[in-house]
Amino acid sequence: MTAISLPPGSSRALDRNFPAYIEIVRGRLKVAIAYRQNSLFLLAIVVVQIFILKKVWTALYAHQTSVSGVDRHALLVYLTIANIQGWVLQDPTVSRYMYERVRQGLVAFDLVRPSGFIQQMFAQLAGSTLSSMMFVLPALPIIYFAGTLGAPASWSAAGVYVASLACGYVITMMLMLIIGMIAFWTTEILGLTMLYRLVSQFFAGALVPLTFFPGALRVLAEALPFQSTVYVPVAIYVGRLHGLAMLQAIVVQIAWIAGLSLAAWAMWRRALFRVVVQGG
């Protein structure tokens, strides 16, 4: 158990284990290529969803170009980018991978490895994000016709979008880590991961931008971390969020990173004592 007591995130451990993380990422890419057929079908669902959203929203707007101050073109760009981004960043297979390691007792081997368990999981997440990107980039021409792609509102919007996207990615990672860690207590999280995907997709604003949420639902959506993963960065991209409101949203993102990291760290401290290796 000495391996785990290495201070998490200590720079020396990171340097030494760096080749190991690269291998994990490469392993993920290989899995994605080996099962490319499945990855393509899953990507097709996202493309179909983008197409449906475009058609439904176009029909909803009827012949108006703007509703409640939301420009139709900007909305369609928002929906397209939000769904691509959601697919690239939110690969549920990592929570599932964690759950399977815990359930089959294989987590024991992960724990005695020289690199920390959490770091291994981050490498897994990074690998799955890269492999999703590998599929999305060649699909962009199809997505262009299925949905609506457009340039960011301005150069500064593009810059802030990248920063906000990075924050959103960290929040997504933390949430997935927390969901995955629940497996240490329950050893069963399949239902939970599915529920998480539904709830997070809806409250992240991937189907309806938060602007159109009715009163109480909007208050709830703004109190949850999910809006910081998709709505905030993409709303900045299309220029819906700007000025003071944009800065405020980024401060909220940073606060969520701090809060969720703390929660994940506290959970991890306790999770180690919960490890039950079945039949190990």
Partner: protein
């Protein structure tokens, strides 16, 4: 032993009748269901998940229509009815046939061997060997939404409409099931088709829950005649909600919608039987 002596006991003939097969399948399904009921917590979680999954699509329609009021002339009540009718057809399909989703595993693990040596149609055995509890969530959501939507929407419930509705739900279930069954049949050759079936499931859910014509003429035509999505709920609910004037098919075809599902399913079953010949045991 000559087959004559088997049939002379009366046993052989009994085995071969479709009615006996159905009774047997019903008994197996009941046993599988009772087996799953033993895991009570899992039952509750899976049912809840089914409700959340099917309800989330409805939440989208509700949130959007609370702001925009109509979608191509369809009000929230109309859309709720369309959504509920599709879900009802979907539930009618998945309750008996949900286990088709495990066909990949059944084939790869060689479990299909035992289905071939038992005196019951292998397809019936595949779908009754276990029961997946999340479909109960689909059923609960389907009925709850349907009762709600039928009260909200302006639907005429004359006897002829009720008969049409019942036939349309069964026909819709078969129209969805035919494509899933055909795809599952490909597993005999490809061994893995779950992602493709997941895609089909989503295409039915996403295109089937809206008035099809908003997607344009090409897609309306394709999802009527190439893939029978329009016949699941869009055409029947247009008839029942008196939106039939806006349909892309003639009234006679709209009223004949339930038959389309039956025809597709018969064709899909023939395809299954044809693909069955490609089964290669993984070795036992």
């Amino acid at each position: 032993m000559p087959t004559d002596s088997l049939t002379s006991t009366g046993y052989g003939r009994k085995v071969s009748t479709p009615l006996w097969s159905l009774r047997m399948a019903w008994e197996l399904e009941r046993a599988a269901f009772r087996g799953q009921l033993e895991y009570r917590l899992n039952f509750v979680i899976m049912a809840f998940l089914g409700i959340a999954y099917q309800g989330s699509g409805f939440a989208f329609i509700w949130v959007v229509l609370s702001r925009f009021h109509t979608l191509d002339g369809w009000t929230f009540h109309d859309l709720a009815f369309l959504y509920a009718l599709r879900l009802l057809s979907h539930a009618t399909w998945v309750v008996p046939f949900n286990l088709l989703s495990e066909i990949d595993m059944v084939l790869r693990e060689g479990r299909f061997d035992q289905f071939l040596v038992r005196p019951l149609n292998p397809l019936l055995q595949v779908i009754t060997h276990r029961f997946r509890m999340n479909v109960i969530g689909d059923v609960i959501t389907a009925f709850a939404l349907f009762v709600l939507a039928a009260n909200l929407a302006n639907v005429s419930f004359t006897p002829i409409h009720v008969i049409y509705l019942v036939l349309a739900v069964v026909g819709g279930a078969l129209a969805e099931g035919a494509i899933i069954l055909a795809c599952a049949s490909l597993s005999f050759r490809l061994l893995e088709t779950w992602a493709l079936r997941f895609l089909i499931d989503n295409v039915y859910l996403m295109f089937g829950s809206y008035p099809l014509r908003i997607f344009g003429a090409g897609i309306s035509w394709s999802f009527t005649w190439l893939v029978p999505i329009a016949f699941v709920a869009y055409i029947p609910s247009s008839v029942l909600l008196k939106h039939a004037a806006g349909l892309h098919v003639a009234p006679a075809i709209a009223w004949g919608a339930p038959a389309v599902g039956f025809i597709w399913f018969i064709a899909a079953y023939q395809f299954w039987r044809w693909q069955l010949k490609n089964y290669q045991s993984s070795g036992h």
